[in-house]
Amino acid sequence: MSKYFKGDAAASKQVSSIGDELDKDKNYVGHKNITTLQATPQSSTFDPIERIKYGFKCFKIDEFNKHPDYYSKLAEKQEPKFLIFACSDSRVSPTNILNLRPGEAFMARNIANMVPAFNQLKQAGVGAIIEYAIVALKVEVIFVIGHSRCGGIERLLSLPNVDTSFDFIDDWVSIGQPAKAKVIAQNPCASDEELFTLIEKESVMNSLVNLLSYPYVRTGVADKKLKLMGGHYDFVNGNFQIMEVDYDIKPTIDI
């Protein structure tokens, strides 16, 4: 019984078996074909619950039930190789564009896929993700993925000349300020749209640099147990760019 909500146990609780419902569903197109279904215009009476129920149904029938050994092993333990930082934008889920399967990537999603510098007072959320991924899960690659037409980067570019202030958003996107300053300084004649794309990419690099301010990231990279990668997904043109980062300490020279 939840302490938060009254009438919890008494609330009507529908229990439905996905399998039984499937037999009656003429519209079932399966997990892999769900994109086709979503491409059709939605009816004016969109039911969010039916939508997620359908999505779960497809997953269970087409994926979970077909690979019981895989999913039972996964239920005991996750051992993802990747920690991915991606934007919250609805169009750029790495699971969709990189066909990631459950178990492959521990994933953080936030506005403009940013990683702030190490700050125990303020950035516990991101810090917890990095700490858990490296210390508990021992991921091997951290992949920061930016994208085209990013609203967070656009907001960063507009600041401080904005009509409305959004306290939480503006505070968050300011993490990318070094990237913005650098791009503007280096491209004094660029148009806003050019600056936009340049800052999207520079912000990824800024986040990769910020990652190195976390001690366990630095240790992992120095010990060559951790790799850093950056990416940029351009959904306007259907491109993807990847950047690998090498971190090297050269041998000493006796003076």
Binding site: P48, V92, M107, R109
Partner: protein, 320 residues
């Protein structure tokens, strides 16, 4: 510390940037601000698709680091990127840590190209429309756990759900100040004007386990502890009601109680509460049990708010 950063892909180990591009002939529609919400409109792009293997070369400048022997340098890899050679469908290999031989770089490339061929190009009109503006109906707050991606288990396709993922799918209250979760909340509610917020938790959550294992009010140098303490009220509720259960059972209870804690924290944001009161925004909780693949969901009954007893929930369903 001066740092050099380079974007480099090379076929012949030269510092040029190669992008694998599909160029669409004809003019692109004029860009509309993504941050200011605009209704998604369809624009047709005339022209034909060029061959998939066409490559654009772009030379980018780069910074050089200091030559000091102790200088730390960031340099991008010069590793070659193979040209598109897969035209037939190759099912992607699962990347696991035991597969040391799999080059992450190459695998990601392969995955993207498969997506592009099989999905992006097959649904080009839809993707071009999405490129103009997103109008998702959901905001989803989910755990970062690799097993519970909402795109996968709930089948969200591009354009459908604005997603925040953090440890233990927590929503801190308004008074905690800015963080990545409430920045995303502010954007999705005020700018995208989503109609639904779903906080979705799951079984065997490491973050909740850490919360349950912590000593009370411990000031810690651990980020995890400093974050999951957001759920401390859920923990105390759990311990009060389930003291006779095993630790594992208590954690399961806390996983669900924490979702409710987050739903209540959502209402501490005035713009969330306002939209809920007006019937423009619905708030849902969800719980994915990946041991037996079941999903439980419930909805906040916004009409039920009373001063003394708080909110009720409605429409609880259990899918198995």
């Amino acid at each position: 510390m001066r740092l050099a950063s380079r974007l480099v892909h090379s076929l012949q180990k030269q510092p040029f940037l190669h992008t694998i591009a599909v160029s669409l002939l004809g003019s692109s529609p004029a860009y509309r601000s993504n941050f200011l919400k605009s209704s998604a409109s369809t624009s047709t792009i005339s022209g034909s698709k060029l061959k998939f293997s066409e490559i654009e070369q772009t030379k980018l400048g780069f910074l050089r680091s200091s030559k000091s022997s102790l200088a730390l340098r960031l340099k991008a890899s010069r590793e070659g990127v193979g040209l598109v050679q897969e035209t037939k469908e190759n099912p992607p290999k699962l990347i696991t840590k035991s597969d040391d031989g799999i080059d992450s770089f190459a695998e990601m490339k392969h995955r993207f190209l498969s997506f592009k061929q099989q999905i992006y190009l097959e649904n080009l009109e839809r993707y071009q429309s999405l490129a103009e503006a997103q109008a998702p109906k959901f905001m989803v707050i989910s755990c970062a756990d690799s097993r519970v991606c909402p795109s996968y288990i709930l089948g969200f396709q591009p354009g459908e759900a604005f997603v925040v993922r953090n440890v233990a799918n927590l929503v801190p209250p308004f008074e905690n100040g800015p963080c990545e979760t409430n920045a995303a909340l502010e954007f999705s509610v005020n700018t995208l004007e989503v109609e639904n917020i779903l906080v979705t938790g799951h079984s065997c959550c490491g973050g909740i386990r850490a919360l349950m294992s912590m000593e009370d009010e411990e000031k810690s140098s651990s980020f995890i502890k400093n974050w999951v303490i957001v759920g401390k009220e859920a923990r105390s509720n759990t311990k009060a009601t389930t003291f006779n259960l095993s630790f594992d059972q208590q954690c399961t209870h806390c996983e669900k109680e924490s979702i409710n804690n987050s739903l209540m924290n959502l209402l501490t944001y005035p713009w969330v509460k306002e939209r809920v009161a007006k019937g423009l925004l619905s708030i849902h909780g969800g719980y994915y049990n990946f041991v037996d693949c079941t999903y439980e969901k419930w909805t906040l009954d916004s009409s039920s708010e009373q001063e003394t007893s708080g909110y009720a929930i409605k429409n609880r369903e259990f899918w198995s």
